[in-house]
Amino acid sequence: MINWNVILGIAKTHLLTKMKSTVTATLGVTFGIGAYITLVSFMTGLNAMLDDLVLNQTPHIHMYNEIRPSPTQPISQYQGLSKAFNVVHSIKPKQNQQKIHNALPILGYLKKHPNVRGATPQLRAQIFYLSGSIELGGNLIGVDIMEEARLSNIQDNIVEGSPQALKNNTNGILLGAGLAKKMSLSIGDRVQISTVEGNIFPLKIVGIYQSGIAEIDNVQSFANLNTVQRILGEAENFVTDINIKLLNIAESEPMARSLEKQFNIKAVDINEANAQFETGSNIRNLITYAVSITLLIVAGFGIYNILNMLIYEKMKDIAILKATGFSGKDVQYIFMAQAMIIGLFGGLLGLLIGFGLSHLIDNTPFETEALPTITTYPVNFNPNFYVIGIAFALISTFIAGYLPSNKAKKIDPVKIIRGT
């Protein structure tokens, strides 16, 4: 039979009369948890931002025709020479059309697929931007702009103008920010572009596109798909790339493989394209947890020390409690309760401080040319971190309290009282 009122009463009195050590121990936990919350919120916020920056611009699956040599040369297929040692010099890439064969039926198929959130056709064209006598090399991508806006974060990257404006203007272009700067152009101006064949078209600038990655912003612009098809003089089914967004991103790899087989086309999934980002995120998470756990272990040792000292100091009290009928378990609970109270209060205070600091970081201005949509430092306010944080606090104080309290449980009252 455990009488919690009495046990908690004694624990409370111990904590209150030893205010200094209590506060020290509590603050140890508070700083540990506060630092954990701040670190993890900030780090994962940064991770998410970086992932967004790169991953959201890449589709989950990207389909295109790859320029490559045939895997089997014709001579290998000739049975008469199957036992011979064939040497083919200077293999050239296979003659291949740039466009995706049967692009429109493939799109139709993909849009009906249950795991596909959307599939968008793109036409990438090599062009030159003309500015007086200067020609700037670059890309013009023909897109179905409203679908792109729905499926990707392209809208965030259109710093001036809107996707709607592009859709409404068949001769419109969303000019790369770097290009606009180089050529001193802004919305409403006209830019002349020239195809590789030398045909010149004037396009009206309806928006400025800034991805934050200078290499892209200096060469890439967007126009409507049929505008680009017209510029190149191609038919409406001329599509060079298909970008697919999935509902379940984990399926991207097997699905890419099956699409490759099904349509005889190159399909790159998001993990393949961005393997290094995953690694970066993982390492940052690892650092966050390593630092937080270190802080908590330090706090745990603080609690362990303080309780140990308290138990040595209270040896006689423990003996008399046992002599007057408190069992070893009762005594253990008294000290465990103190540890857990420190853990709970320290932890909750830590969550508050962590939240406050995260909030502060969240409101700190952070403006950089590279990230047009970001105005303050990114912070991830995930409630899970707070649950983990308080669990961390309770577990570490439980362990820190268990060892000394177990010692208190085993104290032999006769030895203490007789002074041997």
Binding site: T17, S327, D330, I417
Partner: protein, 229 residues
């Protein structure tokens, strides 16, 4: 005659630093309402015996009965409960919890027993303190009262659960003659007015001579029982 406490063939060895036979086949009993004292030289085993009788020391052979119930071999948890309910203990040193007030110290064993409500316990504790003439100290910190008063608080604490027997390990050993006299009179009064059984280990011959019976120990053996008239 009812025996409140009975020991049968109790043997105890100390194993460290080397094997030593402290108590040799001790058998005796304390009657209801009896005020008995144990006397003997240092090392005669009298305190060791008392701690076995108090159920705190369980490392012995033989049988111990409290209220005609065998307590030997019970679990620590049950023993704690028995101590809590049936045995009051007064030591040479008062062992009050210094952070708590006097009345809280007295109430603690009763709160642990949890057979009465908080209000009842508080009233009982106040009564015990009044009986020992220290009612006015109830809300003082235990660390801020005099030595004699502390010992009386310790007695009040020992009495709070109305135990069957009160044990003392040299309860007057640390007190001046005036306070010793005081404690003795309290014990005497408890025996006479409430029929409490008492078993006290002491060095103080005057104290022992005024008890009902002196149990004399030497080298782990009870030499004789002196019944005072």
């Amino acid at each position: 005659m009812d025996l409140v406490l009975e020991a049968k063939h109790i043997n105890k060895h100390f194993h460290k630093p080397k094997d030593f036979h402290v108590l040799k086949d001790i058998s005796f009993g304390v009657k209801k309402g009896e005020f008995a004292s144990i006397m003997g030289k240092s090392g005669s085993g009298k305190s060791t015996l008392l701690y076995i009788l108090s159920t705190m020391d369980t490392d012995y052979t033989g049988e111990l009965y409290l209220n005609n119930q065998l307590v030997t071999g019970k679990s620590h948890r049950e023993l704690s409960r028995i101590r809590n309910k049936n045995i009051g203990f007064v030591f040479q040193f008062h062992y009050l919890l210094s952070e708590f007030s006097v009345i809280e110290n007295v109430m603690l064993p009763a709160k642990k027993l949890a057979e009465k409500s908080y209000v009842e316990i508080e009233r009982n504790a106040q009564q015990k303190l009044e009986m020992l003439n220290i009612g006015h100290l109830a809300h003082q910190k235990a660390s801020r009262i005099s030595g004699g008063e502390k010992q009386r608080v310790a007695i009040a604490r020992a009495l709070i659960n109305d135990p069957t027997i009160l044990m003392g390990d040299e309860p007057t050993g640390n007190l001046d003659s005036h306070n010793s006299e005081n404690v003795f009179n309290i014990f005497k009064k408890l025996k006479e007015e409430q029929g409490l059984s008492l078993l006290v280990v002491t060095h103080d011959e005057d104290f022992a001579n005024r008890t009902d019976r002196i149990i004399q120990m030497e080298d782990g053996i009870i030499m004789n029982h002196l019944v005072n008239s």
